[in-house]
């Protein structure tokens, strides 16, 4: 199912629109004829949101997601109909070093935005769809995967806990106030535009683009579930459209490619699509503290109930991804 005319000529707020996944979502929404409003805190001219001309087609509003008053003003002023809440401090390592700023953005940001949405509703113009980005990290370490959406949230480390909190808070707005809120729990998203070099795909792609050997800090065995960013954007749109059915309010939706990929396999495939034949430098350290060893999620619900499916195979997605790094980092 493709997101069709739902968003044409409507106003959509994308928090985190300047960021990696947000920029793809904003671009897709613009392509469908939506007016896209993006709150901006720090300005990062190097990001694809600006560098690829997406930002100049959006309505930019200076605001921090912690600022309830500013959010309410933006929602009201632009008569926002759909909200995608992607703004977050997304890096696990930063959350460990700097929990406070992570709590502020990821937890307080979520309830400030949801509360602004609720208030706008009490003023007579309810938001029609609110999609809050949680994460597969919200599940925490589980022995039994793949995890379905009804698996308990048992996060242990700061980033995971921050997403678990946002997830529960979002669900409470649906259950207590009957608001059209849905939650996404996406696997590790990769694709062009991700400049978080602590992640395996950006780090490997940059090394390859520079003609260097990719480094694998672990022994290469940890398995993860991945999702290509254009498929992620499509998942967000499908979940937003699901909110036109009130019986689906308050649901959380997993989305991933649905098969475990080891770090080593991922790096080897990326090397292959880049046309290189270097060998990765495997350093063999253990899994970093506070990162789940392997976490697989079950995307059966979003596939069966919303008709979403990844459009790109892993190799196709990696090819598109590498092309972006090849153009942008040398």
């Amino acid at each position: 199912m493709q997101a069709g005319a739902t968003f044409q000529d409507t106003t959509v707020l994308v928090t985190g629109g300047q960021g990696f996944i947000g920029s793809w979502l904003a671009e897709r929404l613009l392509g469908m004829g939506a007016r896209v409003v993006v709150p901006i805190r720090d300005v990062h001219p190097e990001k694809r949101f600006h560098a690829e001309g997406i930002g100049e087609r959006c309505i930019l509003e200076p605001a921090d997601v912690r600022d309830y008053d500013a959010l309410l003003r933006i929602l009201t002023k632009h008569e926002v109909q759909t909200v995608f809440h992607l703004a977050a401090q997304p890096i696990v390592g930063i959350a460990n070093r700097s929990p406070l700023s992570t709590w502020e953005s990821n937890v307080a940001g979520a309830y400030s935005l949801l509360e602004a949405c609720r208030t706008k509703g009490t003023l007579g113009a309810p938001i029609e769809r609110i999609v809050v980005a949680s994460s597969d990290h919200a599940y925490g370490p589980h022995a039994d995967s793949p995890l379905r959406e009804d698996s308990p949230l048992e996060p242990r480390y700061p980033y995971d806990v921050s997403k678990g909190c946002a997830d529960m808070i979002a669900a409470s707005y649906a259950s207590r106030y009957g608001m059209p809120v849905a939650i996404t729990r996406l696997a590790n998203v990769f694709g062009g535009g991700d400049r978080n070099w602590s992640r395996i795909v950006p780090d490997t792609a940059r090394s390859l683009a520079r003609g260097q050997r990719p480094v694998i800090r672990s022994d290469g065995s940890p398995q993860r579930d991945y999702l290509y960013v254009e498929d992620a954007a499509e998942a967000y749109l499908s979940v937003a459209e699901s909110l036109d059915r009130s019986e689906l309010h308050g649901r959380a939706w997993n989305a991933s490619l649905g098969r475990p990929v080891s770090v080593l396999e991922l790096v080897r495939r990326l090397i292959a699509v880049s046309g290189s034949d270097v060998e990765p430098d495997i350093q063999g350290e253990g899994t970093p503290h506070a990162e789940a060893d392997s976490l697989l999620i079950d995307s059966g619900a979003i596939r069966d109930e919303l008709g979403w499916a990844p459009r790109w195979s892993l190799d196709e997605a990696l090819t598109r991804t590498y092309a972006w790094y090849g153009r942008n980092v040398g």
């Binding site: 929990p99 406070l100 709590w103 937890v107 308990p152 480390y157 529960m168 207590r176």
Partner: protein, 327 residues
């Protein structure tokens, strides 16, 4: 099991010290010779904190949970040895009507405090942080009583705010190696609770006025009730547990031994009041998401040797006596 540590000459910060449970905890800590710090807040005129003169025996800190710098200052300048974090928006109905202040105080207040503890090097093994979560974090569970390993399935904003507090607090122990513990207590009752939306205070107030207590539900919803002095014992036992490193980061249930129906609580209270009024049973829908809430307290009993000391009858007599005198 080890006896709770004496608090003689220790500096103890009790957020929410002016509140219901806080006032009983403060009183105990003062008896043990602790220097007790509380955030400066206007205590209601009829609060136990005021009536007992606890106000003049505590140091009132200029401290706001939403002001990170003020937390850091108090922890550093006053060499705080232990923190009991009880301050919260505690009334479920209020939190649901107006969630933002509840999220701010409960969630942001807690992470600010934990972060200040981390920054203030409150990491030494003798400097303990006990964070009040709640039995509400369990939400609707299949089997009762629920042990601490039950998944958290909170539903409404209040319950969710406590679940967030609970997860955030435990993550500081795991990630930053801090002596932090979490308490999940069931319905605490006793003298000094001025939240009259709750069953025991509302019924006691009615009885003091000579009126029949009103039960909004049909009287069947069951909760496990915990007398406030037993709750204080539990707080002290949990704080004492933090002397053992391998107990850091745990959540501890504490509740009464068996769940009791609302109707029975009210009848017992009527007996304690020495009247023969009949409760007025309205039979309305409960606003709560669960019919029965019952936590399994086996862990705190077995590992920390805590036991509730007060049977319902005598505890309700003591409770009623407070309302008869305090109101």
């Amino acid at each position: 099991m080890s006896a709770p540590a004496s608090h003689a000459d220790r500096s103890v910060l009790v957020t929410g010290g002016q509140g219901f449970i806080g006032s009983w905890l403060v009183e105990r800590l003062l008896e043990e010779g602790a220097r007790v710090l509380v955030p400066q807040r206007p205590a209601p005129e009829r609060s136990r904190f005021r009536l007992l003169g606890l106000e003049s025996r505590c140091e009132a800190m200029s401290l706001d949970l939403l002001d990170f710098a003020s937390l850091l200052r108090v922890l550093e300048e006053h060499q705080v040895d232990a923190v009991f974090h009880l301050a919260a928006h505690t009334v479920v109905g209020q939190a649901d009507r107006s969630p933002l202040p509840a999220f701010e105080t409960n969630i942001r207040g807690t992470y600010n405090l934990l972060e200040a503890c981390r920054m203030a090097r409150l990491k030494r093994a003798d400097r303990h942080v006990v964070i009040a979560s709640s039995a509400h974090v369990y939400g609707k569970q299949g089997g009762l009583p629920c042990p601490e390993t039950s998944p958290l399935r909170p539903v409404g904003p209040y319950d969710v705010s406590k679940a967030c507090v609970d997860m955030i607090a435990r993550c500081y122990a795991v990630t930053h190696d801090m002596p932090v513990a979490v308490t999940r207590m069931s319905n605490v009752y006793g003298g000094g609770d001025l939240n009259f939306s709750r069953l025991v205070p509302a019924s006691a107030r009615a009885l003091v006025a000579g009126d029949a207590p009103v039960i909004h539900s049909d009287g069947t919803p069951e909760r496990d009730y915990l007398y406030v002095e037993d709750a204080v014992d539990a707080y002290l036992a949990v704080e004492g547990s933090l002397r053992e490193r391998d107990l850091w980061g745990r959540a501890w249930n504490a509740g009464g031994a068996t769940p009791i129906a609302a109707g029975e609580v009210v009848r017992t209270l009527i007996e304690a009041a020495g009247t023969d009024l009949e409760p007025e049973i309205e039979g309305g829908e409960s606003s709560d998401v669960v019919d029965s809430r019952w936590v399994d307290s086996a862990e705190i009993r077995t590992l920390l040797g805590w036991e509730p000391r007060w049977p319902l009858e005598s505890a309700l007599q003591k409770t009623y006596a407070w309302y008869a005198e305090g109101l």
